[in-house]
């Protein structure tokens, strides 16, 4: 008996399971978004009616605009600073300084052993002016504080990319054609790690815009972010909070989809 098994995607259990997984990822988003536009949703499986009232109220609230701007400033700021500071260090460690490389590996793992709450306490102790430096209460403490938290998101993917290419050989080949280290880094190594870099950028942005502990404890009302605003709103109406949460989801989703599109394109070009 010859013949092939059905190639239909929908018959394949693998596709069903992955599909279920993706559905699971999207479910919370769907739930909150529905709530943001619901007139009434109590005791029923789905909302009874829809309205844009809540959304309008939030957009007209000056606190929302402020929180949104603050969040974006911090998110972009933290992503930029962390990229500029972390990526050269990773490259330099991998390509030229093996001792540094090993230490970096340990240091980026540290936030897993030292949770945000703990570090927040420490930052509170040091940067509240006792030693002459007042960073708490300003966005700067967040932008700088997020760098160690997100460092592993650059480190792991970029190291993966670096290991896949023969870095030593490439650098030597570069020397032989007369290129400086800087040129080799910029023209050859950097393009090779763009995938890892993109992943790092997205994850750092998401971290910065999702972070609550630092934002609440170290800065609070002095420079409120979306997360802090959500916390304030939760006392009151769940619908209003849902609108803010939906805006937050949209921002992150747009960004991640853009990155997927870029990464997919690069893959095709290969």
């Amino acid at each position: 008996m010859t013949g092939t098994r059905s190639n239909s995607r929908w018959a394949n259990p693998a596709w069903l399971i992955i599909g279920a997984f993706v559905l699971l990822q999207l479910l919370p988003v769907a739930a909150v978004s529905l709530n943001a536009f619901a007139t009434d949703w109590n005791g029923t499986v789905l909302p009874t009616g829809f309205t844009t009232d809540w959304a309008r109220r939030i957009f007209e609230d000056p606190r929302f605009d402020q929180a949104l701007v603050h969040s974006l400033v911090i998110a972009f700021g933290a992503t930029a600073v962390s990229a500029l500071v972390t990526i050269p260090a990773i490259l330099v460690g991998h390509c030229y300084l093996p001792l540094l490389d090993r230490w970096l590996g340990a240091l980026v793992i540290l936030p897993y052993a030292v949770p945000g709450v703990v570090l927040a306490l420490g930052l509170l102790r040091i940067y509240s002016g006792q030693y002459g430096v007042q960073l708490n209460g300003t966005p700067l403490i967040l932008i700088l504080g997020y760098v160690p938290l997100g460092a592993s998101f650059y480190y792991v993917p970029i190291k993966n990319n670096l290991r896949a290419i023969a870095v030593k050989d490439i650098i030597e080949a570069g020397y032989l054609v007369g290129a400086s280290d800087l040129a080799i880094m910029a023209r050859v190594i950097l393009p090779s790690i763009l995938r890892g870099l993109s992943i790092g950028l997205v994850m750092n942005f998401t971290l910065a815009i999702s972070e609550f502990v630092y934002a609440n404890l170290l800065v609070g009302g002095l420079y409120p972010t979306l997360q802090v605003f959500m916390n304030v709103l939760r006392e009151g109406s769940g619908r209003l909070t849902s609108v803010v949460v939906t805006v937050y989801f949209i921002i992150v989703w747009v960004l991640s989809t853009a990155v997927i599109a870029v990464l997919a394109e690069r893959k095709d070009r290969k």
Binding site: V22, V117, V118, N160, T206, A264
Partner: protein
């Protein structure tokens, strides 16, 4: 490489090292230092207070239990998912992985809120489950609720952690096993799992540490009602009613000590994997 060039290269790493020191190492030292401060100078009093208090010991037990259970769930669910993901076309695979990236960062209020909508006392899924007769009453504001939400995060993180290491299980290895007569079960038992073991354990440890350190999600979901270490720390540090900064610092230091051991173990496992 001349030492001059080495020094120049090192310069590029200095900003990061500086920031790591100022915003990661220094705070940790400050916390640890402060935990030993008493009214009359250095003391171990705070640690004694914590270790002799059933309440605080209970906090550690709860945190460890929830973290361990959700980490097992995370790894257990993520392994088949990551394995199936390998068979997917590249673009879909990339999409799922990127969304898992994002998903594992959806912590705190947004996630807690979503789960409250879905599984709260009058949440959609609670109603559906009640109608189906599966669950009488599901209280999301409980340990069970925490487990559900944590597990949601853990599975996504686990998929990200496990996926790269599945590369060692090439199709050729699976086919070779099939050709010499191994069933799928035999393959996984004798070959697949042994190869993945270091990665599975390492992922479990990172997930455990991640869960132990979670604050925002727990706070958003149950407020101060659950007895978790991070919640106690936040309470003691926030300065509202129970403010006791040194006790908070002692708790924090103990938490770090609890986590340092498994993380160091994970690192040594990593070394073995790459050698």
């Amino acid at each position: 490489m001349t030492s001059k060039m080495r020094a120049l290269a090192f310069l590029f790493a200095v900003p990061l090292l500086l920031i790591l020191f100022l915003f990661e190492v220094a705070p940790l030292l400050a916390v640890a230092w402060n935990s030993f401060q008493g009214d009359d100078g250095l003391t171990l009093g705070h640690y004694v207070e914590i270790l002799s208090s059933a309440f605080h010991r209970n906090a550690f037990q709860n945190s460890c239990l929830i973290s361990a259970v959700t980490s097992v769930i995370g790894v257990g669910l993520a392994l088949p998912i990551a394995n199936l993901l390998r068979t997917m076309p590249g673009n879909l695979r990339q999409m799922v992985l990127t969304y898992a990236n994002i998903g594992s960062n959806f912590t705190g209020f947004p996630l807690a809120f979503a789960f409250i909508i879905m599984f709260g006392l009058s949440g959609s899924f609670t109603l559906l489950l009640a109608k189906a007769g599966l669950v009488d009453q599901f209280n999301i504001y409980s340990t069970g609720g925490l487990v559900l939400v944590y597990a949601y995060l853990q599975v996504q993180l686990a998929v990200l952690l496990l996926f790269p290491s599945l590369g060692a299980l090439t199709p050729e290895v699976e086919e070779s096993a099939a050709l010499v007569g191994a069933s799928r079960l035999a393959f996984w038992w004798h070959i697949g799992l042994p190869i993945l073991a270091p990665s599975l354990v390492g992922s479990f440890i990172l997930l455990f540490a991640n869960a132990m350190g979670t604050y925002a999600t727990a706070f958003a979901l149950v407020g101060g009602n659950a007895n978790l270490v991070t919640l106690r720390i936040g309470e003691l540090a926030a300065g509202d009613v129970f403010s006791d900064p040194q006790l908070a610092d002692a708790l924090a230091t103990l938490l770090v000590l609890v986590l340092v051991v498994p993380v160091v173990v994970e690192q040594t496992l990593l070394r073995k994997r790459y050698s």
